[in-house]
């Protein structure tokens, strides 16, 4: 298990390093870093100072060293727009995005798994078919378009829920969250649903396919032959088996939810880091883009690592084979 952890950790570090190199190459080697990293409105003296600080006058490999060194210290440059460290600005926006992504994940799992299992148990029933048709829709419709429809229906036509913003927040352990106030919750529902729908379709399809496969296994028939109630067969024998692949995928999808939050945040004007990214792209605030990228890579790699570990804990077969190896 420890060998496995160390190996897996090593892979994660390689992934982060690879992305760091790519970002570095993208910013320093392809473009002119002076254009990218230094505010076009700076004076000559400011430019010279920044160039020295970033080491732009030195050879490329040395620049890379400085870039990595600074990045490890959380220094990814000063935002042109806000005039503050880019990392700081991103971190301020992080809680809003994480809240959105987590709520969406919970929604997609708690709705998706039961629907998927249901569709898998009765694939040819009307219910099973409509669940699948719904999931094809959820899968097909682009995220931003679903968001627009949600706004059109619930905010414009029905007027039940607000169309954008985060609403009232409360501070819990130093982090501002929306879901604890009524107003915040109202603002949260539509964006979270929007972000959840796409993943929910994925969860439904996955849970359905796995349920169908598990149902064909001898051990399900055997469980019936033992006289177990169908309730127990579904809730214990089938669910436990499908949870392993489903949890793996869902875990990995949390990372992509952080990324897809870019779209949802833009549609719903949710003040998270995804919206910040789009704003920054439009304003050419490149230090913020770089900071966003590095932070998101870090988040995704960490999530992947954690999911792998959970996976090995869930599946006794994986756990043991790793111990043997």
């Amino acid at each position: 298990m420890i060998v496995y952890l160390v190996r897996r950790l090593g892979q994660s570090l390689v992934a982060i390093a690879a992305m760091a190199v790519l970002v570095f190459v993208g910013v320093y080697a392809i473009g002119n870093p002076v254009d990218i990293l230094i505010n076009p409105e700076s004076t000559q003296a400011q430019i010279a100072a920044t160039m020295q600080r970033l080491g732009l006058d030195r050879p490329l490999w040395e620049q890379f060293g400085i870039f990595v060194w600074n990045a490890l210290h959380g220094d990814l440059g000063i935002s042109f727009v806000y005039g503050r460290p880019a990392m700081q600005i991103i971190l301020e926006r992080l809680p809003a995005t994480m809240e959105l992504a987590l709520v969406a994940l919970v929604l997609s799992v708690s709705i998706g798994i039961p629907l998927g299992v249901l569709a898998g148990l009765k694939p040819n029933s009307i219910g099973g078919r409509s669940i699948m048709a719904g999931s094809i829709l959820g899968f097909s419709l682009p995220n931003f378009w679903q968001g627009m429809l949600l706004i059109l229906i619930f905010a414009v036509l029905l007027g039940w829920l607000p169309a954008g913003g985060r609403g009232e927040t409360v501070e819990v352990l130093g982090i501002r969250v929306s879901f604890l106030t009524l107003d915040g919750l109202k603002h949260l529902i539509l964006p979270a649903m929007n972000l959840a729908l796409f993943k929910m379709s994925l969860v439904i399809r996955l849970a359905r396919a796995n349920t169908r496969e598990v149902c064909l296994q001898d051990y399900v028939k055997y469980a019936r032959a033992k006289g177990l109630s169908s309730r127990r067969i579904v809730l214990v024998h089938i669910l436990k088996n499908i949870l392993i692949p489903v949890v793996t995928i869902i875990g990995l999808e949390l990372g992509s939810m952080v990324a897809f939050a870019i779209v949802t945040e833009t549609v719903f004007a949710w003040p998270g880091m995804g919206k910040l990214l789009i704003d920054s792209i439009n304003l050419l605030d490149r230090p913020v883009i770089v900071a966003y990228l590095m932070l998101t890579v870090l988040i995704i790699v960490t999530i992947n690592l954690v999911v792998d570990v959970i996976y090995s804990l869930l599946d006794p077969r994986v756990r043991l084979s790793e111990v043997d190896a």
Partner: protein, 319 residues
Amino acid sequence: MSDEAAMGLSEKAEPPVKQPAEAKRAPALESPAMRIAREFCEDRLAVLGLVLFLAIAAIAILAPWITPQNPYDLAQLDIMDGGLPPGSESFATGGTYWLGTDEQGRDMLSAIAYGLRISLLVATVSLAFAIAIGVAAGTTAAYLGGKVDTLIMRVVDLQLSFPSILIALILLALFGRGIDKVIIALIIVQWAYYARTVRSSAIVETRKDYIDAARCLALSHRRIMFRHLLPNCVPPLIVVGTVQIAQAIALEATLSFLGVGVPITEPSLGLLIANGYDYLLSGRYWVSIFPGIALVATIIAINLVGDRLRDVLNPRLQT
């Protein structure tokens, strides 16, 4: 179907000594392509999807010849016709705007046809290049194995561990807007899916005896790869390809909606939707909704076809 019925009848007429097992073998005479076509057509929804997709593709290709106006020729636009709801008559020409107009008096029907053209162009061009690169990388990895395989698959795994939208966004943030840049971004995002698909099916094939036999016959590497390995990778490739082309269309639309995709002068469906988004809340729904419907119809049509193809091409799922 009638063929089989006929065979069944003639079977009964045969003398009783005849082995009944042979009656089951008879349909195997039909070629794989014919079987796939027949089974595909058994699902009416899939056929509907195919017809819909062909219709959409035809509209996209023929757009310059069949639309009432060229929406990007400013000389044809009349600001007087701006913001008309669907079904309105033009003040300038007296024609009917079936799907309304935008602020500049652009006929939405024509704009959608042109937008489809760009969306499909981006998707198909990137698809072609991504498949070419992915197939080359995947077969090379599978056939050569060893370090080459490890290297290629590490890159693939690394890339696939990040969401495609993130990678595309970053690339476009670096490149800037442009149809060519969107296409490049989509190729980079997608090639890895094909590489992985091709490699895994090719690996299965290389382990089979006939590849060994081909090697023993001293056939050239290229011949083994292209004549023996590749044909077996085609079915999974088609399945992944249909899923990916729908994803590519959606991704391009999303990028353009976010304002980092195609330029304003050549709007795809995504950009049309984004342009109309501001008017959505003020009640001029048609500027945004109709391009959205066209986009969604395209994606659904492709997915319906893809879903059925997956069932038909995957022998493991056949019961």
